[in-house]
């Protein structure tokens, strides 16, 4: 069963950037790609307890602000040391200027 939850307005996220979304079920990161698509991942790096939304988005990649662990935020794939574990991704849809993520 999808569990669509409103995360933010599309205007809240700049192009090629990320914001943090806090919800009862945890911390999430909402991304807007350079080609204007939206994506969502778990908000805390799999390496240490660091908020990914404080990191830099370059193309398809989010880089952890603390130890430079990198993920492809579209697939969740970790891109080398110090990352061992991939990051969880969530389905996203955009409706009427709002971004929803499926918390499952």
């Amino acid at each position: 069963m999808p569990n669509w939850t409103r995360a933010c307005a599309t205007d809240d996220v700049e192009e090629e950037d990320v914001i943090r979304f806090d919800h009862a079920s945890g911390v999430f990161a909402i991304y807007r790609s350079p080609d204007d698509e939206f994506f969502a991942t778990a908000g805390i790096c799999t390496h240490e307890h660091t908020c990914l939304a404080d990191g830099l988005v370059m193309g398809d990649v989010i880089e952890c602000p603390k130890h430079n662990g990198r993920f492809n935020y579209k697939t969740g794939k970790g891109l080398g040391a110090p990352i061992i574990e991939n990051i969880k991704t969530y389905p996203v849809k955009v409706e009427d200027g709002d971004v929803f993520i499926d918390l499952g």
């Binding site: 908020c51 830099l56 602000p65």
Partner: protein
């Protein structure tokens, strides 16, 4: 020719290099020799959140399952006694002979010791390893009196950690201010104020005359006659590269094991990487540096693993450091002493970055401080600009409304 890759030193750099060999497709023997009895672990948390955890937790880089899956033969508590360069083999302290095709020295560094009389005594400690951290942690009960010699990153992180554990902390720094070699005075001032607010006593510009250890306490006399008494003294006064093996093998040394941009030593079959080596940095006209940096150790490990297999990958990364103290994080990209002028950019809520520019306008370093990750994105962008040799408009750097990312496109 002998098969096999031997890596001496199982810290961040050596361990990363072992995995990098596998990632590059090498399927011969990889032996990773470490003198500590533990799995490879990350050192940075030891002076920070690792020490304030209820039980001192080492953050393991690779557990046994991962090492085994990668076919890395990790020898714990093992030492290499000598290198036979002609025969391309190392001899361990246990008497085992290990042949190598390529050898990596990732031997790290060890804490500089106090030279004052009475320094090698009970109640005097240094912080480098997990076991060091555990010994210190065991003494940092609430109310314990900690004296820290050295106002650098290690000492100040430990002071913040001690306060959070309820201990008293006094920091003694011989130079006129804290972090004198690491960050600009404006940033060091913020750090000093924060420590003062936490109740840390900071004494700067004062050499130590003597250290005496009694059974019950350690007593410090400063050059100006002041006396301090503590239950434990920790010295964080720098580190010395571990070069004994390289020196005995006749490799060229220069503030550590001297390597080229590929991290090869004066013997083409032997590489050195991480804290133990000095290397030329192309972005600063091949200035030779030795870094004590977690990130650099990791980058070196990645690069040297490939080069041991014959790649010609120069290490050209921009130096990068960070420190966490209380809620503050400092991040520094580049080498600030390359700068001749600076501009300051305010990021809001007290966070700011100082950009350091060379005479020709090149951005050579950026030093930032703020709460949590406030400076992280902009320091990362600065790092990329530095790596490209960019000459950004100082006015744009200083202006809070300029998106730094837009300067990357220039």
């Amino acid at each position: 020719m002998a098969e096999g890759m031997v890596i001496v030193g199982a810290g961040e750099c050596g361990t990363r290099a072992a995995f990098a060999l596998r990632e590059a497709g090498y399927d011969g023997p990889v032996t990773l020799i470490g003198d500590e009895p533990h799995l490879p672990y990350e050192r940075p948390p030891l002076s920070k959140e690792g020490m304030t955890a209820p039980t001192l937790a080492a953050k393991v880089i690779a557990d046994e399952a991962r090492l085994k899956a990668a076919g890395i033969d990790h020898r714990r508590g093992a030492r290499v006694a000598s290198i036979d360069r002609d025969a391309r083999r190392v001899l361990t302290a246990e008497g085992e002979t290990l042949p190598y095709n390529r050898l990596l020295l990732a031997t790290g560094a060890s804490p500089r010791r106090l030279v004052q009389e009475g320094a090698e005594v009970p109640h005097v400690a240094y912080l480098r390893t997990y076991d060091d951290a555990r010994r210190i942690r065991d003494r940092l009960d609430a109310g314990a009196r900690l004296i820290i010699v050295g106002g650098g990153f290690i000492g100040l992180e430990l002071a913040a950690t001690a306060k959070s554990l309820g201990a008293e902390a006094t920091v003694v720094e011989v130079l006129p201010r804290l972090l004198a070699r690491a960050v600009p005075a404006e940033i060091a001032g913020i750090v000093a104020d924060r420590h003062a607010a936490a109740g840390v006593t900071v004494v700067t510009g004062t050499p130590i005359a003597s250290i005496e250890s009694a059974p019950d306490a350690v007593r410090l006399t400063l050059a100006d006659g002041r006396r301090l008494e503590g239950d434990l003294l920790v010295a964080g006064i720098g580190a010395i590269p571990s070069t004994a093996l390289a020196a005995a093998a006749g490799l060229v040394l220069d503030n550590g094991v001297a390597v080229d941009t590929r991290l090869a030593t004066s013997d083409a079959a032997i590489f050195a990487a991480g804290d133990c080596c000095s290397f030329p940095l192309p972005i600063y006209g091949d200035r030779r540096v030795r870094l004590e940096s977690w990130r650099s150790a990791q980058d070196h490990g990645n690069t040297v693993g490939r080069n041991m297999l014959g790649a010609d990958a120069p290490h050209a990364a921009v130096p990068w450091f960070w420190s966490d103290q209380y809620e503050l994080t400092l991040q520094i990209a580049g080498l600030a002493d390359e700068g001749r002028s600076s501009v300051r950019r305010e990021l809001g809520e007290g966070a700011f970055i100082i950009f350091h520019l060379a005479d020709d306008g090149r951005l050579v370093a950026a030093s930032g401080i703020g709460t949590g990750n406030a400076v992280a994105k902009d320091i990362r962008i600065a790092e990329m600009l530095i790596g490209r040799g960019a000459r950004p408009d100082p006015g744009a750097l200083a202006h809070p409304e300029t998106r730094l990312k837009s300067l990357l496109a220039a």
